[in-house]
Structure formats: structure tokens, C-alpha cells
Subunit: 562 residues, 2 copies
Amino acid sequence: MTSKIPRQAQASEDSLLRIFTAPEDATSTLSIIEQRLSQDLAGFLGNSIAALEKPLSEIETDFNAYQIPIDPTFVSDYADEIMQNLVAHSVHTAAPSFIGHMTSALPYFVLPLSKMMVGLNQNLVKIETSKAFTPLERQVLGMMHHLVYQEPGRFYDQWMHSANHSLGAFCSGGTVANITALWIARNRLLKPQGDFKGITREGMPKALRFYGFDDLAILVSERGHYSLGKTADLLGIGRDNIISIATDKNNKVDVDAMRQAAKKLAAQNIKVMAIVGVAGTTETGSVDPLTELAELAAELQCHFHVDAAWGGASLLSNKYRHLLKGIELADSVTIDAHKQMYVPMGAGMVIFKNPELAQAIVHHAEYILRVGSKDLGSQTLEGSRPGMAMLVHACLQIIGRDGYEILINNSLEKARYFASIIKQHPEFELVTEPELCLLTYRYVPSAVQQFLNDAVTNQNESLVSQVNELLDGLTQFIQKHQREQGKSFVSRTRIKPAKYFRQPTTVFRVVLANPLTSEQILQNVLTEQVEIAQLDNEYLPQLMALLTSTLDKRCIDNDINQ
Amino acid sequence: MTSKIPRQAQASEDSLLRIFTAPEDATSTLSIIEQRLSQDLAGFLGNSIAALEKPLSEIETDFNAYQIPIDPTFVSDYADEIMQNLVAHSVHTAAPSFIGHMTSALPYFVLPLSKMMVGLNQNLVKIETSKAFTPLERQVLGMMHHLVYQEPGRFYDQWMHSANHSLGAFCSGGTVANITALWIARNRLLKPQGDFKGITREGMPKALRFYGFDDLAILVSERGHYSLGKTADLLGIGRDNIISIATDKNNKVDVDAMRQAAKKLAAQNIKVMAIVGVAGTTETGSVDPLTELAELAAELQCHFHVDAAWGGASLLSNKYRHLLKGIELADSVTIDAHKQMYVPMGAGMVIFKNPELAQAIVHHAEYILRVGSKDLGSQTLEGSRPGMAMLVHACLQIIGRDGYEILINNSLEKARYFASIIKQHPEFELVTEPELCLLTYRYVPSAVQQFLNDAVTNQNESLVSQVNELLDGLTQFIQKHQREQGKSFVSRTRIKPAKYFRQPTTVFRVVLANPLTSEQILQNVLTEQVEIAQLDNEYLPQLMALLTSTLDKRCIDNDINQ
């Protein structure tokens, strides 16, 4: 960190061997660089600014070189360079006012532990490169299994460390978890039988022919995560066979509509392979009626998967776990520890009710994953994987159930607080209530609210659509400017509220997972949005013009009719 | 790290908020714990022991609790606990004498950088949670693309940062990279046309029907990585449609045999979807004849993928890159940075020759990955992902081409050295020559070698099989004991050497990637193996008995014949 002018480093065998050898003491160059980096990181994280605004195209100019440099760079010079070019233009996802995505401040103890995890560089694919990390990962999966299914102690004694069983699979994130669950569901449905060697060996077309199905389908709420479409593509099922089921006014899937859809599919000889319940939709945070979905899955004799990638952490709250009632009926459950369990990025899990479930995807090799080994890699989609389970293990122990109880409850209650101030504010509309800690809303001047409500009451869909289109522009304008001002960040999405005749409607989306987000910050977010709205000279004037002309016309009509 | 007796921590909102806030200075409790952890890690890594031997079943007893603890644990107590239960029983994958797998010592600068990466907690799925990390990742992919394909500067100017293009995809490892490549190959082959909306939307059975194929197949060497079978399962192609092609005596795929197989498949109306060339097989380190495979792929009009997960790093050596000649003809190439590029676990990549390739798997959502955005997640299998690309970026800059030149050359030359001392040693047999830095060998007493060679010369397959079966037992015995003694570690696998009539043969497998592995260590590994062999009282006596009885019988036969 001494010089800003890149110095010429030279590659020699000695200097190279040195970088692979542990620095001797706290006064070594690397130790000093490490201290500087830690300070700079703390400085960045202590900053309240959500993100410095610099156009991406400008940032890209720092990353245009396409040739690997010939000469080595000194670590200190590199550290200087990335502090300027990378860290300064990173997103401060931990900022208390960064409430737009499922990120949060992290507990600081994960930093030294991460360094240790990276230093140990275990590979969880096999015991030979992970040893104690393998039972540790199995324990984490056991604890998460118990969190969901609450089986008695003998269940865990029997299965947690059993070579040919698994209570779940650790993976990089919820997408891989969902893929794994549905891969298993597909393979169990189209399993070996008689001469047929199973879809695993013979593939999808032969499997369908053997079982006499014309196609497979997956039923899920229209609010299902986009990873499900990706899964259907990957598994050879096809995106069109993800049957998207409408939601009710509370954004929960309509189970009757799902049952009807299933009947229609059966009539077409299309087999429902799985029902996916969402426990915390990405866009509105709603939880599907899991118990009813489990009943339907039983009727249809299909796999029941629950995508609780984000919402699953709420099971850690005794006060609120009832919101996910029925999750224990699922065959498999996705939970991301890197969302509301406060673990760094890269810690996803899928939990299996039945410890034999993963046998549908088991695979072996000659040099590892031999039959009967405890190598975790024989039942995972990924191959080589880091020991991220250690960070989940650490959080579960150091925070504990009592700690999570406080964190989760505060987060849900903060969302209820934010909803209440949105509702009280004359210029905002709460679009979806927070069931967990996620809500959506938008800025709507009070006159427009009144006008829009009247249009809704009069079932004037075309007028509602006109107003909403302008409001969409306004919402985008505010969200973009707020992001660019860098004091706070909310995200935006498009949903189809029942109230507005299911017209696509752009809304602010807020996730209140960060323990450091205060009520004051939430108030400031609204104040800032009101201020930004005043800068708009496109949508607001058009809205006012629309109001005026419609009201004028109504007066004229009234006059004529009188 | 003060007390061994777990103290009772209490969860309170204040104490929880504190753990989410940056420690103020170097004298804070967390800073002190961090220093202790760093020292302990350095201690572990400085140790020459490959792994403390404790039976897994004993280690598991430390990980039997299945309930998430109610009470929080102090960070210091937790640190004590994992140093004893986890770190002490981890595998020292960085030890210079741990030469059994594709692990190595890491350059130390990755540790502080990893801590920074984890602290920044960027999510690469979208710009909104990654900002400068997105162009950085694109640059790393561009540099790797250039390493493989060496396109001119204007190519990178045009595509490296283009929203709708990608020069590759970053992922957790080689398995996901291979899946991604073959997913793309499948989707490009079965693309939308006329009324058919493509396999992406309609799924595998309809796609095959539309294109009039009875099935798909993938052609690969019998030494192909096990992830390819997993891929075929996942993609709905079926493991039986991975057509395993025999290798020649140098463990390279027999291209003529592959051509014949392709003809047979064509006659059955089975379309070859892709040819996979292996550039560095996992078990013997051999590189397939890539140029010839590319020609065959062109004849068959199919995708040509090269799995260079491990061998790809050798492209960084100007001296040896010719060993991978033809790789630049591949449509896609898998390279793991966490193998011989000295990056920590979790850094895989697939590189695409054509920047439009990934459009075959593109997907969007309402809240992120919108059409036209630069969100990387729209063209990756995984969703949320950490900023691992930063560590690859750091290694490329800090080590540089000149540094890698030395590291890779030394590693290949060390393998040649090891091969030479194995060949010179009367009691060892080099089973496969090192083409890159991987070789296989086994311990065979010189009398047995002579006897076995005679049996081979006489084409006495049954006698060769008898000898090899006993040698397999001996190889396993030695490998297991060496691992348990903990001074060094070689792995073992089963291959089918042409010399031994393709009988499955167990061998030691050694990967010489660690820059700290000295010639002395390699000599010691052999010495130790000779010593362990003397402890065997099962296989050696049987081998000797077999030799004696066969030679006796031969003498008697000779007597009779005279």
C-alpha cells in the first residue's frame, strides 16, 4: 500500500515459493497488508452510503485488459488497485439502508472463520480431502432437518452419519438446491422397473414411453422463483411444463385452481411430477398454504417440494414458525443459509424428509465416491465444494436458537412497522402486506389514490391501466434516482395485484433482514422518496392531466346527463 | 481462546447488534480471537503431517448433536472448540507430502483477500448486488478466453462487457462447468424452429420427436470424468447414452473407434449431441488428441467440448501449452481455477468460443435479470454466487504469466523426475507416464515384475489376472497404511492398462501441483512405501507362493517334455 506507481515485480522461483509459505510474524509485509485491508474493509462497511454511483460503463474501463499480465504484481500494489477500482465500486450490501435485496450485515466473526476455511481449503466432495468437515456438514444438515421435521433423537442417531443416506445436500445456493430436489423427484417417479433401467440410465424419452406418460409437469404458484423454469429446462421437462397457478388476493397459490389444473393435465395424460410450494416468495414474501398443497400432492401421488430458500430461516423463531405450518409435510425443502441465517454468500441446502431420497441421484467413480464410502459427493449435483458448512455451523452455535429468535422476530416486526408507516402516509400505497419480512409498496399522490380507488370500484379496467402505467414510470423513476443518490436502496419488481385486475404493476420491494436497519432509516427512505418524486417532470404531470381531463369529462357527462 | 469450559452466553438484542458491527480496534476481543485463529491456522499449515489419523467414527462423536443449541456460544469458546474438533482433524491438503489429489499449498495473499471478499459479500447474480465485481468477473472470463482462443483485441473490445453475450460462465467448479457446456450443446441442437418452440420450452421428448431422432448421445473417452454421467442423467439424456470409447496404450481416446461408434449410432438414428475431449484425465492425466476430435465433431456437426478442468492451467506455460494443442478448436472449455491455478476451492469456469453460445440457456425474471441488463445470472446455472472471480483475478495479476510459467513448468518437470526415479527403482512399476503433472504407479517386487512380464509376453491372461489381483490387494494395503501413518498421502484408483489386457488394475495416483513438494519428499514417499510393503503378510506371501508353484510346475512340465 506504499506506492501508487506500479513497481516492476520479477518472477523467480524463490519469490514464488515465498508466496506459498506462511508469513512468519505480524511484522511481515503480508501481515501489514492484511491489517491495511482489514482496516479498509472496516472503513467501507462502516460507511452508511449504499453505493457510490459511477456508471457501469466507466467502471468497465478499469477491467478492459484481456491479456493476463506478463509480469507479476506486488501484493501491496494489487491491494491498492482493488481498493480503488473494485472495493470502492462494490455495492454496500451490508448497509442498514440497503433494504432492496436479501442481503444484510454479517456477524463479524464470520470473517476470521472464513479466512480459516479458505486456508484449510478442504474439498467436501470426499473424505480424503475433508475428513472432519464431512461429519460437520452432516451435522449441519441434521440440525436443519430437525428444524424442519423435528424427528426424534433416534432418527438422527440412525441416519445423520450413515454412509448410504443423507438428510440433505449442501450446495452453493437455492437454485442448485431446487434443481437437486426436482432432479430427485423426476428420477424417483421414472425409476427402474423390470427391464427398464430407469431415467438415470435410459433418459427422458424412453422413460416416458415405458411409463406411458405423454409428458411431465410441475405445478407452482405464478410467484415461483425463476430457478424453477431453469430447472425444467435443464431436466429436459421444458419450461412450458411448469404450470403456473394463479394466486389469491394474498399472493398465495390458489389450491383449487391447482387441483383443476392437475385434472386437466391428467386428462391429457401428462403426469404431475411435483408440486412446489413457496414459503416466502421472492417478490411478495408470501407463504403458500403448505398443508393443503401437501394434501393435493398426496392425492396426485407426486413429490412435494417447498422452496423456502428465503423464508426457511423463519423456522428459527418459535413465535413465528407457525407461518410456515405444513412445511414438515414436504418431501424436500430448500433453505439458503446465506439469506436470513446471516451466513456469507454461497451456502444453500436442500433437506430431505426421507434419508433414502438422494439415492435416486447417487453416482460413483473409481478414485473417489466408491460404493459404501461416506464421500458426500456421491449424492450432490456439484463435485468439488468448499467447507462453507463450517460457517453455518458457527452461526448456529454462536447465535444459538435464542439469538435467532430475537433476530427473526425483530425483522418480522420491523416489516410490520414499515407497513404501518406506509399505510399511515397519505402519499404511499402498501401493495402487499408483510407476511414474513418482505413487503411491496409504491408512491402514489393522495389525489391519485382516491381517483384510482374510484376507477377500481367502477371496474373501469382501462382507466386503471392508464393510471398504473404512469405510476409504473414514476416508481421506476424514484427507484433509479434513489439508487443513484446512494443513501439507500430499495429494489423494484412487477407483480399482478388482484385488486388491479391482475394488471402488471411496478412496485418497490423491500426486505428487512438487516438487524442494523433502524425505524429512523425506514422513515428516511420514505422522506427521500417523496423528495425524489418532486423531481419528476414526466409522469406526475401526465397523471394530473389524466385526472383533470377525466374529471372534467365526467362533469361534462354529468352535465349532459342532467 | 481463554477457557476450555463453555461459558454461558446470553442472547440479548444489544449483544446481537454488537456482533453485526465492525470491531473498533486491534485490541477488541474479536481482533484478538482473529489473531489467535491466524496463528493456529499458520501452525496447522506449517505442519508437515498430512493428516492426523483418527477413525472417522470417533470424529463423528463430536458432531452428533442434532438440535441447534438454545444458548449462544462465545466466539472465543467456539474458536477453541473448532480448533480441537475440526481443524485438528482436517486434511492438510496443502502439505507438500499430500500429493494424492489436485490440491496444493495456496499463495498466502489469498487469505486476506478472501476475508475481504467474504466481508463485501457481493452476489454476482446481478449488478445491483455486485457492481464492479461484474466487470471484474467478465474480465477474468475474457482473460481465460484469450488464454484458450487467443482472439485479437477487437474481439474482446466487442464482447467482453456486452450485455447479451458472454465469453464464459463462472461457477463453483468443473462439474457445474461441464453441465453448463452440455446443457448449451443440447439446447442449441434442439433449438426452436417453425412451430417448435425449442427443447427449452417443450422438453426432451417433444424435441426428439420434432427433429426425428430416436435418442441423443455424447461420445467421450472411457477416462472421462464422472461428472459427465451425472450431466447425462440431469439433462434427461441418460447415462447409457454417454458412449464410452476405448483409449490407446497412452490412455488417449481412440478417435477411429469413436468414429466407428458414431457411425453405429447414426445407423440407429441416435444423434451425437457432443464429443467431449479430455485435456488431463482425472486418473492418468492424459490429453486426448484434440485436433482429431475437433475434425470428427465437424464431420458429425456436433458440439465439441473440452474438459480441461485440471489440465487447462497448463496453457499458462508457453513451454508446455503445445501439449493441449487443438483446445482452441473447442466450442467450450472447462477450466478449474481451484486446481492448478492455485485459487481456493470454489472457482470453476466454462469458456465459450462463440460469445452467443450461452443464449441457448438465457433466462429472465421480473425483479432481476431483466432483458438487456448486464446481470451475469441470466446465463448461468447457479443463481446467487459469491465473488470468487476476485481471487482468480488476484492470482492472475500477482503471479502473472511469468510466475505461472515457472510454477507449471516446475510441476510438469517434477512429475518427470518422479517418473524417472520410479522407473529406476527395481521395486516399482510406472503404470502411466506423466504427460502433465499426474502419473500412476505401483509397488511390485522385482521378482514379481519379471514373472508378470513373462506372463504378458506369453499372453497368459489368466496368470496376469491372478498376479494383478494380489498386487491390487498390496497396493490398497500400502495406500491405506501410508495415509494412516500421516506422513504423506497418495491416492489410488483403478485403470485398465492396455499392457495388462485391459484388466482393471489398482494403482497409486499422484498429482504434483504443490510448488513446495521437493524431490526429497518424493524419494521419501517411495522409501516409506517399500517399508510399508514389508508389513504386509497377506498379499506378498501369496504372490511368492504363486510364483514358486508356477515356476515349479513349469520345471516339471519342462522335465516331462524333455
